[in-house]
């Protein structure tokens, strides 16, 4: 399985009274990871809208393993899961950069609606092609990375 990694720093304002990163901020970090993965496959939220769809999150789970503290450098790892149904599921891991200790592990699922809020039950056309590219990339064996070049970030 191929994961995309992004780094962040835990800000002072993200820490609670007990000196630990507040639990809700992990969702924002998941979003950072998701965006960095989606960008590679032209599936950023506005690009999904350009195709005529929106993708609301309908399920979210997160297990907290270790607390992050202010100024910690963290790594957000994100991958997409293959799904038979017309939904997008991502898995996330948040690690402490200095020793790659697992801080949290989570998962989100998004369904797809047309921009006039009609849910679609089957993927088709350009949206299907881009999602398949994303999922195929994430399904790659890490050992196969040498041979397979990841799509580059378009600037």
């Amino acid at each position: 399985m191929q994961w995309v990694e992004t780094e962040e720093t835990v800000r002072f304002n993200e820490v609670d009274e007990w000196g630990m990163a507040w639990y809700g901020h992990y969702m924002a970090w998941f979003e950072v990871g998701r965006i960095s993965l989606l960008r590679r496959f032209d599936l950023l939220p506005r690009q999904i809208v350009d195709l005529g769809y929106v993708a609301p999150v309908i399920s979210l789970k997160c297990d907290f393993k270790n607390p992050a503290a202010s100024d910690d450098r963290i790594i957000i790892r994100t991958t997409a899961v293959k799904s038979e149904i017309a939904a997008l599921t991502f898995k996330f891991e948040i690690l402490l950069k200095e020793n790659r200790a697992l801080l949290a592990r989570g998962e989100t699922t998004q369904v797809l609606l047309t921009t006039n809020k009609k849910m679609i039950y089957r993927l088709s056309g350009e949206l299907e092609r881009r999602i398949n590219n994303l999922v195929d990339y994430c399904l790659q064996d890490v050992a196969a990375q040498v041979a397979t070049k990841a799509p580059r970030h378009k600037e």
Binding site: V111, T114, M119, I120, Y121, R122
Partner: protein, 121 residues
């Protein structure tokens, strides 16, 4: 009509089905064209696909809505059922608009599948 083993086992590529594809097709034709059998089959399919606990075939009212008020299914359940229906009957439910009619009740779903299945032959 004896439907044999669970729909999932029969329909989702069990070895027996692979060996006897023609027999299965005939059996499917029989089920689809018998409204009562199809309705019962669909109830089994719904319970099996969605792994519904504490729900029995007898407990599902054929006229009750599958979503919200009736069986209380949600949007992910709809997506799972769409995949199962396509695999078993090769009948496609594209979106929520079509789904609203198809999933109005088990009876409605049976009628929808009968129509589309026979059109697709």
């Amino acid at each position: 009509m004896n439907l044999g083993a669970s729909p999932r086992l029969e329909c989702f590529g069990g070895i027996e089905i692979q060996k006897h594809r023609i027999n299965w097709r005939q059996k499917l034709d029989e089920i689809v064209n018998n409204s009562e059998a199809l309705c019962e089959y669909l109830k089994k399919m719904i319970i099996d696909t969605l792994k519904l606990e504490d729900v029995t075939v007898e407990g599902i009212d054929s006229r009750a809505p599958l979503f919200r008020k009736g069986l209380g299914l949600d949007s992910i359940d709809a997506l799972e059922l769409v995949v199962a229906i396509e695999k078993i009957f090769n009948v496609i439910i594209e979106d929520e608009e079509v789904g609203k009619r198809a999933f109005a009740s088990t009876n409605a779903l049976a009628k929808f599948i009968q129509k589309k299945y026979n059109q697709g032959k």
